[in-house]
């Protein structure tokens, strides 16, 4: 048993950083799972290059994984790491500027060779030259100790042993923060079931790391972070892409529709294809199409046949799918299009996050082509937004674009499991009978005769006798759906399609404002993945005495019906976005409200501290009356 000191902490931010080939994402992922099972609240930020293996030891090759865990509600992956694990000089150099003075750095000294140091422009090792003296530095020869610990594995080459260094680091951090390792051991056993020697080596390295922490004098204190108090329930840790996949499956189940995914691989959306491809036992059909256009085309074909057609992509792919989405607008069939946004334009920053496809989603098609647009606000919310997207698509027979992003897609958080039976009932009714009579009194089917309430047209699927009909992208006559070039009809149909989408606002929840004292004059309004950073910033600002209200949009088209009324209630409205002000543009145009746009396109989520400053400045500009009584 360890006789070392154990200190309690309320929160910790750890960043694992190394070369792309060092297994940092796996290490971070495992540490996260261990932390989730311990009951901490958490939020993660994987950050990796687009190259699979950038040149070894270079700055572009650095891959990192940041995890924020606490004994209380966590909203972001944390602005600045308390602990940096740097597996090589590049990892140290790339991440040092994010570290506050006093942070802990664990460096793998084995990699701090002259050659590796010079690759990133260090003339001398920063571990030795005193430049890190305002940090707590733990130099650990991670690689050689790991190799030493595997001395008995005579079948393994030195290179193979070196590969276990990430497990050694994980073991060390597990000791340092008192994380149980059973989950990781079980994970390794499953992963290396066919490779018993590799399995044993990884397990040995993991335990060696743990034991190293316990025995070495370099680490005098270990830490504990108590479980967070969370609402009663059963939880799991989930990334946005997995939550979105599960949401689609659950929604299809509730809608009693077979799920069909047509998709083309693209970062950071591909994990949805991978996840759903593994769910055939739930009746899920997936097709890796020849291109983005075929992916959405096949999904639309499946929808025409009465399945729930889904396609997944990122910004460049959404551009390619535009024409087919326009066809779906014209055909008025359900279609789910998930855009996991990344940095743009063009190929942009494939592995980095951004919110710059909002206007593309709303307007990126020829003609007046309205579609519903929704956006999840957290990784777990990707589940709920998927269910909501399916509800809208099937009720209104419309394409729905889901705007997630790289941050939500790869980031994770604890998710309180819903009960499938308690999800909304989104059963679909197909047309089975003629819905009109012709001038001779014979029953006929009019494919564009609308439901008076939703303005949705009937979904009459092939195989239904008596309802044979043709649909297409040419403008259709109202009600009959026959080809029509009539000017008045086109004007009428264009307005009808718009009115149908606008009408969705009748069935979505009003925009809720969080304003505890009800006396704020500044509103911070966000959409999508900025929810965490904005909420954390609002918390910081309020703690500093600012009166500030917060609201967050999950529906971007249409907006909740009360949006304009909410905006007009505040003297100043700040809209932070990871683009150059796309939501701000929409809100100004639609509601004639003077929005203050705060933007950042660095490929990374906002920092809470940065946004808190923006809020504080805005509140201060309105005078002292807008600060809370700070005497208490």
């Amino acid at each position: 048993m360890s006789t070392k000191l154990v200190q309690k902490l309320d929160r910790v931010v750890i960043r694992f950083a190394g070369d792309s080939g060092d297994g940092m994402q796996l290490t971070g992922d495992r540490f996260t799972s261990q932390t989730a099972l311990l009951g901490n609240d958490l939020s993660t930020l994987p950050n990796f290059p687009a190259e699979i293996r950038a040149p070894q030891g270079t700055l572009p090759g650095v891959s990192s994984f940041q995890l924020h865990f606490a004994d209380h509600n966590v909203l972001t992956p944390g602005d600045a790491p308390d602990v940096l694990v740097a597996m090589n000089p590049a990892a140290l150099k790339a991440n040092l500027r994010d570290l506050p003075r006093g942070a802990t750095i664990i460096v793998n000294t084995d990699e701090f060779t002259k050659r590796n140091l010079s690759k990133v422009g260090y003339a001398e090792s920063p571990v030795d030259d005193g430049s890190l003296e305002s940090y707590h530095v733990h130099p650990v020869a991670l690689t050689s100790i790991a190799v030493e610990a595997l001395a008995s594995f005579t079948d393994l080459t030195r290179k193979e042993k070196e590969r276990a260094k990430n497990m050694f680091a994980l073991g060390l951090l597990s000791w340092l923060y008192t994380r149980p390792m059973d989950g990781t051991e079980a994970f390794l056993k499953a992963k290396f079931a066919d490779k018993p020697v590799i399995l044993e080596a990884n397990l040995a390295a993991l335990r060696a790391g743990f034991n190293y922490g316990e025995t070495t004098e370099d680490f005098a204190v270990s830490y504990e972070v108590a479980p967070a108090s969370m609402a009663a329930g059963t939880y799991r840790n989930v990334t946005g892409n997995v939550a979105l996949s599960l949401g689609l499956v659950a929604a299809a189940h509730r809608a009693h529709l077979p799920l069909f995914l047509g998709s083309y691989p693209i970062t950071p959306a591909s994990d949805i294809l991978h996840t759903l491809a593994g769910l055939k036992r739930y009746g899920v059909a997936t097709m890796q199409a020849e291109d983005e256009i075929a992916g959405v085309g096949a999904a639309l074909g499946a929808s025409f046949g009465g399945a729930l057609g889904v396609t997944t992509t990122s910004g460049p792919g959404l551009a390619l799918k535009a024409e087919t989405i326009g066809l779906a607008v014209s055909l008025e069939l359900p279609l789910i299009v998930c855009d996991i946004q990344r940095g743009g334009p063009s190929t942009g920053l494939p592995t980095k996050t951004e919110q710059a496809d909002l206007l593309q989603a709303l307007f990126g098609r020829n003609g007046e082509s309205p579609v519903a647009v929704v956006a999840p606000s957290t990784p777990a919310d990707c589940f709920d937004i998927a269910v909501e997207a399916v509800r809208i698509a099937t009720t209104y027979r419309t394409p729905v674009i889901v705007l997630s992003d790289g941050y939500l897609a790869n980031g994770s958080e604890p998710w309180r499991l819903p009960r499938t039976a308690e999800l909304p009932d989104i059963s679909v009714e197909f047309a089975t009978e003629p819905n009109a009579t012709d001038d001779k009194g014979e029953p006929v089917f009019h494919p564009y005769l609308r439901d008076p309430e939703t303005l949705a047209r009937p979904w009459a699927i092939p195989g239904t006798p008596g309802l044979e009909h043709r649909v297409g992208g040419i403008e259709k006559a109202d009600i009959t759906g026959n080809i029509s070039y009539d000017p008045d009809n086109h004007d009428h149909m264009t307005r009808l399609r718009q009115a149908k989408i606008d009408g969705i606002a009748d069935t979505i929840a009003p925009l809720e404002v969080d304003d505890p004292a009800g006396d704020a004059d500044v509103l911070v309004l966000g959409w999508g993945s900025t929810f965490g950073p904005i909420s954390a910033a609002v918390r910081l600002a309020r703690n500093a005495g600012a009166r500030v209200a917060q609201a967050h949009l999950r529906h971007l088209n249409p907006f909740p019906a009360n949006t304009g009324e909410v905006l007009r209630r505040y003297e100043r409205v700040i809209v932070p976005e990871m683009n150059l002000g796309q939501l701000a543009l929409l809100l100004r145009a639609r509601y004639l409200v003077d929005i203050e746009s705060h933007t950042s396109v660095r490929g990374l989520p906002f920092q809470a501290g940065e946004l808190a400053d923006v809020i504080a400045t805005a509140v201060a500009s309105l005078g002292d009356a807008h600060l809370k009584e700070t005497a208490q």
Binding site: A232, H253, G283, M287, G297, A299, L417, I483
Partner: protein, 367 residues
């Protein structure tokens, strides 16, 4: 009230003997549909004299022969003159967007085994803007019947050259003659691993119908190239094949088990494996080619497709290739049905959502 899909994703993989319409509901015995049942109430709006009229009449006349329920037949098209086809057939139909019909039809066929799915396309739609979807539908061997109307010109956009126009062809967009080497649709389809490839002509109702019959029978992708006359922008391009005397000398009829010949000429194989058309009198009888559409090796079919020439000196007509191999849509359904044991319940979804690593806070609701 909810209506479940009339589709069972759990259907077993069709047997090796399955035809193109296996799994599609048939009319009750003693009932039959007529050409009129497949004629929609829409006015046909092709130019007078367009070859599309003859193809439409042939298709409408042929469909009753399938004995299928009309509501289980779907025609999907892209953009172009030919792609207006679905509007004139009283089946389910979709007039989609340029080049995408094979992709859309793939999603439909993959999820609905109970449908007979047909794609109508043209040389611009299928071979230019939609080339990628065509070759991938063929390599996947989706159970689609693809009718490619080839008139070697863009009609709907009023007379630009197409990917099958011949080199030197003067059109609105090539006033000094086309520079592009054309595609041979049959060669292209064979190169894309098509399991069924045929060629026929708009004006030969009997031959066209026989090819449609063979295509419908085939389980998997069937590519049928139909020479079609555009009277406005490329009139008479296939006229030599419509003159009885000329046709007899030029058309190499492909009939299984029979010699490939046209008039006094026969097709012979030389030492290198290439094919040539020679006078019968000069041919070594041992080298005269006998057609075998079911040969697994596509080399002979490909060699036949290369006998074409821009002057239509010799044109093979008929079924070049007709082989059985697993279809994408059957295999996808098979993967699903073998992974799935029974009806998915709420509890199954609950278990899926929970995954492997869960933890409980407080007293979970309902426990």
């Amino acid at each position: 009230m909810t209506t479940d899909l009339p589709v069972d994703l759990g259907m077993p993989l069709s047997s090796p003997g399955a035809t193109g319409t296996t799994g599609v509901p048939r009319l009750a015995d003693g009932t039959a549909l007529t050409k009129k049942d497949f004629t929609s109430d829409q006015e046909v709006r092709w130019c007078p004299g367009c070859g599309d009229y003859a193809i439409l009449a042939a298709v409408q006349g042929f469909l009753p022969e399938l004995g299928l329920k009309r509501e289980n037949i779907v025609f999907v098209s892209g953009i172009g003159c030919s792609s207006r086809f679905p509007y004139y057939l009283d089946t389910y139909g979709m007039h989609s967007i340029h080049g995408r019909a094979p992709a859309i039809a793939t999603g439909l066929a993959a999820t609905r085994e109970d449908l007979s799915v047909w794609v109508v396309t043209g040389d611009g739609d299928a071979l230019s803007i939609g080339g990628n979807h065509l070759i991938h539908a063929l390599r996947r061997n989706v159970n689609l019947k693809i009718l490619l109307f080839n008139n070697e010109i863009y009609g709907l956009t009023k007379g630009q050259y197409s990917p099958t126009s011949h080199v030197g062809q003067v059109t609105k967009s090539t006033p000094l003659g086309s520079l592009d080497t054309p595609f041979n649709p049959v060669s292209l389809a064979l190169g894309a691993e098509a399991s069924f490839v045929a060629r026929t002509m708009d004006s030969d109702r009997q031959h066209l119908t026989s090819v449609l019959r063979a295509a419908a029978e085939h389980r998997g992708s069937a590519l049928v190239e139909i020479y079609q006359n555009c009277p406005i922008f490329n009139d008479g391009v296939f006229d030599v094949l419509k003159d009885r005397t000329e046709a007899a000398a030029r058309i190499l009829h492909l009939t299984d088990g029979e010699e490939v010949s046209a008039g006094d000429n026969v097709v012979v194989r030389d030492d290198s494996g290439s094919l040539a058309v020679v006078p019968r009198a000069d041919a070594d009888p041992a080298r005269i080619m006998r057609h075998d559409a079911s040969a697994q090796d596509p080399s002979a079919a490909f060699a036949l497709s290369r006998l074409d020439s821009p002057d239509l000196g010799h044109v093979p007509m008929g079924v070049f290739r007709n082989v059985q191999r697993p279809t994408y849509d059957d295999a996808l359904r098979e993967q699903i049905s073998s992974a799935r044991t029974n009806e998915i319940t709420d509890a199954d979804i609950d278990a899926l959502l929970a995954g492997r690593d869960t933890w409980t806070v407080g007293t979970p609701a309902g426990s």
